[in-house]
């Protein structure tokens, strides 16, 4: 295999994982924009996506499309319960406390998953088989194409949602300035609820499409969540296009590092990048630089 072809192969696999990182990163940005908190349970939404899909499709033998949407619905529900429950009921609205509550939620969800599904790794069959396709000499799994397609649909759908619908614009308003949003009559509480619900769905989607490739188990949420978070910071925290860019870029860099340098340390790369971004350009690639040094 020529070097160029190798690179192309790495690029493809990088874009594959990168797409899922992008979806996770968008989930983080959504909640952060609406509430200012980092939702540490985001990674668990991804894990749940895989788990529910396996239950509905493999165990209960439901048709794939139905299982897909049922999973999205189930995890969105959990996102909703998280917001309505612990977050809304919290006696203190300080950001640190709320963030640590999401940490508690993440541990609880992980614990619940351990009880319900056990500790073993589980897998999902690929949506359309495992026979690799050839693209300009490089092998590409059909699942990767699904991943690209679904991610693209989600991103386009979100774009339309935020630019074209009233609700989407309202959410952007809340992100820009909560006080103004309240004054103009936007139901901020409902927007926050929506952000959690949507993040749940996004996490689930990421989990569903990724599981056939990487398998899933009760503890994959932590690492995926952290990487998605890194991707969000890399692209510019709070920025939707930034999340997509960050996710894809992180996936590609990880793949290149694994292939060209060392595959054992590839997980560390995401966090080295995180540190590098924080030290040199904390607002990320696309972030609006509003760091007034007071």
């Amino acid at each position: 295999m020529t070097f160029g072809l190798q690179l192309f192969q790495f690029l493809l696999s990088g874009l594959t994982t990168g797409s899922t990182y992008a979806l996770i990163a968008i989930g983080f940005s959504l909640i952060h924009n609406a509430t200012g908190i980092v939702n540490f349970a985001q990674g668990e939404f991804v894990m749940l996506g895989g788990m529910f899909m396996i239950t509905y499709y493999s165990s209960l033998k439901l048709p794939m499309v139905l299982a897909f949407f049922l999973t999205l619905f189930s995890v969105s529900l959990i996102g909703l319960l998280l917001e309505r429950g612990p977050i809304r009921q919290a006696r203190s609205k300080e950001i640190l406390i709320l963030v640590m509550i999401t940490v508690g939620a993440s541990i609880s969800i992980k614990g619940l998953s351990m009880v319900l599904w056990g500790k073993n790794a589980m897998t999902l069959s690929s949506f359309s088989g495992d026979a690799p396709l050839l693209l300009w000499g490089a092998a590409i799994m059909p699942q990767s194409i699904w991943i690209f397609a679904i991610t693209l649909m989600v991103v386009v759908g979100l774009h339309y949602f935020f630019q074209g619908t009233m609700t989407g614009k309202a959410m952007r308003a809340v992100a820009a300035s909560r006080r103004t949003a309240v004054l103009t009559g936007i139901p901020v509480d409902r927007m926050i609820l929506l952000s959690f619900t949507l993040s749940g769905a996004l996490g689930a989607a990421a989990g569903i499409i990724l599981t056939p490739i990487t398998t899933t188990s009760y503890d994959v949420g932590v690492m995926l969540g952290l990487k998605g978070f890194s991707a969000a910071i890399l692209g510019g925290y709070g920025s939707m296009p930034g999340a997509v860019l960050g996710g894809l870029l992180l996936g590609v860099l990880e793949s290149l590092a694994a292939g060209l340098v060392s595959s054992e340390y590839k997980d560390a790369l995401a966090f080295l990048i995180l540190l590098a971004v924080l030290f040199f350009k904390p607002t990320g690639i696309l972030g609006r630089g509003r760091l007034r040094r007071v």
Binding site: I97, M100, V294
Partner: protein, 328 residues
């Protein structure tokens, strides 16, 4: 003011040192030993969170650095134990300094993210650098602590050493809180702009506190390594960082006694949860959420109020812990 707290500390020390006479079971002693080490970490973290207004989600890495540096240098290279512990503290301090300087300058919670990333990187290195660290199966054969011919080779013997160090750190922390620097730090956490305009170099103090908290964690890690004579990466994961932050929060941020209480509680809790086996993670998460939702300022101030006590926390004449953020 500070005197009342010191008397309480003395009483607490007396109870602690008397306990082993009543505890026959070594397992109980071991749990208390681990609690003592956790308190050492939590004291520093409490200063960071309560007085510098910063959060670190990477203290497991500093704890781990202390452990692995001590372990590797004394076991593989035959370095002397106590100087190595000091060396580990210096190295960890320098690393914390390097992380703190760029991130603490900025507004916003960049230190959280940086420490998080740092924790994961260190964890991965611990696992992957097998020839040096022993990899995922861990590192064994670490020499026990000894001083003047006396070897600390049992849970009981090391108990007094660990708790002496721990209580010592509490005492030093109390001293700091009631001093000029402690006041400056409290001012910094309550109103940074006013503090700066009053002549307090907030950036420098924030870095100092961060470095101090890292150094204390490193000390705890080194002692941990020499105590258990075996360490593995699993102990130093991100989860431990979360645990120690939770100990501070559950006890009440900024409250010294609260941190003590939080550390004790959350060290004993997982042990108690072992009994319920596969439900332990779920229960831990639920308890955490309940505590944070209903007692955001810590369980300790709530209980102290119920018992009718007055001002006994560590922050200057106040029992209400300090808010980190005003929320959105």
């Amino acid at each position: 003011m500070g005197k009342k707290n010191k008397i309480y500390l003395l009483i607490f020390a007396a109870i602690i040192f008397a306990l082993p006479a009543f505890l026959r079971n070594n397992y109980h002693l071991m749990v208390l030993n681990v609690a003592a080490l956790n308190i050492l970490v939590v004291v520093g973290l409490n200063l960071l969170m309560g007085y510098a207004g910063q959060i670190s989600l990477g203290h497991a890495a500093f704890f781990g650095l202390g452990a692995y540096i001590s372990a590797v240098l004394t076991t593989t290279y035959g370095f002397p134990i106590w100087p190595t512990i000091l060396l580990a503290m210096v190295i960890t301090g320098m690393v914390a300094f390097a992380i703190g300087i760029p991130t603490l300058k900025l507004e916003g919670h960049y230190l959280v993210m940086a420490t998080l990333g740092f924790n994961v990187i260190v964890y991965i290195v611990m696992i992957q650098l097998e020839p040096v660290t022993g990899g995922p199966s861990g590192f064994s054969g670490i020499p026990r602590l000894q001083a003047a011919g006396f070897v600390f080779d049992s849970d009981r013997k090391i108990y007094f050493l660990l708790w002496a160090v721990s209580i010592g750190s509490l005492l030093l922390s109390l001293n700091l809180i009631h001093s000029r620097v402690g006041r400056a730090m409290a001012a910094l956490s309550q109103n940074e702009i006013a503090a700066r305009c009053a002549g307090i170099d907030t950036e420098r103090y924030k870095v100092k506190i961060f470095v101090l908290s890292a150094v204390l964690a490193s000390l705890a890690g080194s002692l941990y390594a020499h105590y258990l004579t075996f360490i593995s990466p699993g102990t130093f994961s991100f989860f431990y960082s979360l645990q120690v932050v939770t100990m501070v929060l559950v006890g009440g941020m900024g409250s010294l006694w609260g941190s003590l209480f939080g550390a004790l509680l959350l060290t004993l809790l997982p042990e108690a949860l072992h009994a319920v086996k596969e439900y332990n993670v779920l229960l831990y998460g639920l308890i955490l959420m309940v505590a944070l939702v209903f007692f955001p300022h810590g369980l300790f101030p709530g209980i102290a109020a119920v018992l009718g006590r007055g001002k006994i926390s560590g922050s200057p004449d106040s029992e209400k812990p300090l808010a980190l953020n005003k929320g959105t």
